[in-house]
Amino acid sequence: MTPQQRVQAAMAHRQPDRVPVFLLATMHGAKELGLGIREYFSRAEHVIEGQLRLQAKYRGDCVSASFYSALEAEAFGCETMFIEDGPPNCAGPVLRRDEDIDRLRPPRVIETPGLLRVLEAIRGLKERLGGRLPILGSAIAPFSLPVMQMGFARYIELIYEQPRRLARLMAVNRRFCVAWANAQLAAGATAVGYADPVSSTTIVPRDLYLRTGHRVATSTLARIKGPTAYHLASGRGLPIARDIAATGAVAVGVSALDDLAAWKAAVGDRVTLVGNLNGVAMRRWTAADAEGEVKRAIAAAGRGGGFILADSHGEVPWQVPDEVLLAIRAAVERWGRYPLDWTGG
């Protein structure tokens, strides 16, 4: 099976030849090219070459065309701060006063150089890979983008205290998110990750999510013209597992803090589960640790397909060494072959 066929089978809840594995090392490509993170993300060809080298090394079942989250805040005017050993940060809010929301307009993808670089990278990857490997794009959920647009504390206050302004902000962000996701699909992305950590039950309670983030997600995903994977970026989600399955997403990223088997029981074959290796702890894993964690995840969610092994955040930290990623990959080869008889299922 090609990686594309393997992933398609898993997502159709059939058993492929083995469990697919996504090693979402967005920054590690810079190491491969001997570049700093800022320089790496400054040109689409760096990311194309970096992702191809990582795929050749780790033999994962996808390539990631994601650059960094702050890029979408950049489109709204936020400044990005680069560090040498981690993902770039949004340096401060662009919506400094609540009234700024009233005048906010969605930026245009074609007028935002950073977003155009991502589209160029997707097109380049598509050209090089054809349909052999899935190419993953990403978009920040309208409900989560305001953390960068206005700061987390003020955004929480807005959610509770200013429903009208929240609705306006969601409308602007939804227009941008839909346009951005569809641009990536049009450029050749196979699917788009919908990053929505604020909707996790780590951040908001379920009743509030159903009135806010869930409605936003359902209406946004309905307008995106391709498959989407809902990602809570390490936040807990088990109490809203069935709600997420009803948003229209075809896959969902599961936190290392959640029980994968409980997720599988909750959603059945309605969505594919992606996860849930602990990316932070991974930095210090031995080969034996990696093997144990891979076995745990596969035993919890692998049977019957509908499962892709990955880290739980959607981005492997810069500090995770090659040896660990290669040990994960080797463990998948050893323990991920269907029919997974060793799991006792």
């Binding site: 560090i83 940060n89 951040i203 509030l208 810069w318």
Partner: protein, 214 residues
């Protein structure tokens, strides 16, 4: 169940659901029965501790923790203006976000500590060098560091090394997502303790204050 416990649970419930009229009613009831310090010690701190523990267990959300801490900070400010003597005689302590731009965790811990009657300096966001210089200049005894990203958590090492180089026994307490996902990380970076939630911050600061005074 004792009256104080009943009142605490009721306040916790009201805070979790952000029921402001109910919060005000319970606050007035407590103030009518107890001295300001007792209201803080017997009602507000236990309610915030319960909410913090519930967050660590996944039973309440961060948005509820943040709004609760903000409301309680307002209540305590009404009870204890900064000039009230009870705020004096504490250890010199500060809180900062190191390296990254995620300020919410620090804001929550700051609010909870202030709502618990502690004086604590707010350094905002700083890089390691700047944080060391400021901590030494203020002659701190306790430094609480909040981070969201792994690279920032690893920078705590630099802060610890700088304190050791200058032979300054400043206690470092850390908190934030990387420490929750890797429970050995706080020791690796040289912190003296790790808080899983804001309530742990109260326990940490109290324990260290007790050690110094004894």
């Amino acid at each position: 169940m004792a009256d104080a416990q009943v009142l605490t649970h009721r306040l916790r419930d009201a805070l979790e659901s952000l029921d402001r009229p109910r919060i005000e009613e319970l606050f007035r009831l407590a103030v009518g029965r107890q001295a300001p310090l007792q209201v803080i010690e017997n009602l507000i701190v236990p309610a915030l501790v319960e909410i913090g523990e519930a967050w660590a267990d996944g039973r309440v959300a961060l948005s509820q923790v943040y709004m609760s801490s903000r409301i309680c900070e307002e209540l305590v400010a009404r009870l204890l203006p900064p000039s009230v003597p009870v705020r004096k005689g504490q250890l010199r302590q500060a809180i900062a976000v190191l390296g990254d731009y995620h300020l919410l965790g620090k804001r929550i811990v700051l609010s909870v500590l202030r709502a618990s009657g502690f004086d604590i300096l707010d350094y905002g966001r700083m890089e390691a060098d700047e944080l060391v210089d400021r901590a030494l200049a203020d002659d701190l005894q306790i430094l609480l560091i909040s981070v969201l990203m792994l690279p920032s958590a690893l920078k705590v090492r630099e802060v610890r090394a700088a304190f050791e180089e200058r032979r300054r026994p400043i206690r470092i307490g850390v908190g934030g997502a990387p420490f929750l996902f890797d429970d050995g990380l706080w020791r690796e970076v040289g912190a003296d303790a790790m808080g899983r939630n804001a309530a742990d911050g109260i326990a940490m600061v109290r324990r260290w204050a007790g050690e110094v005074s004894s």
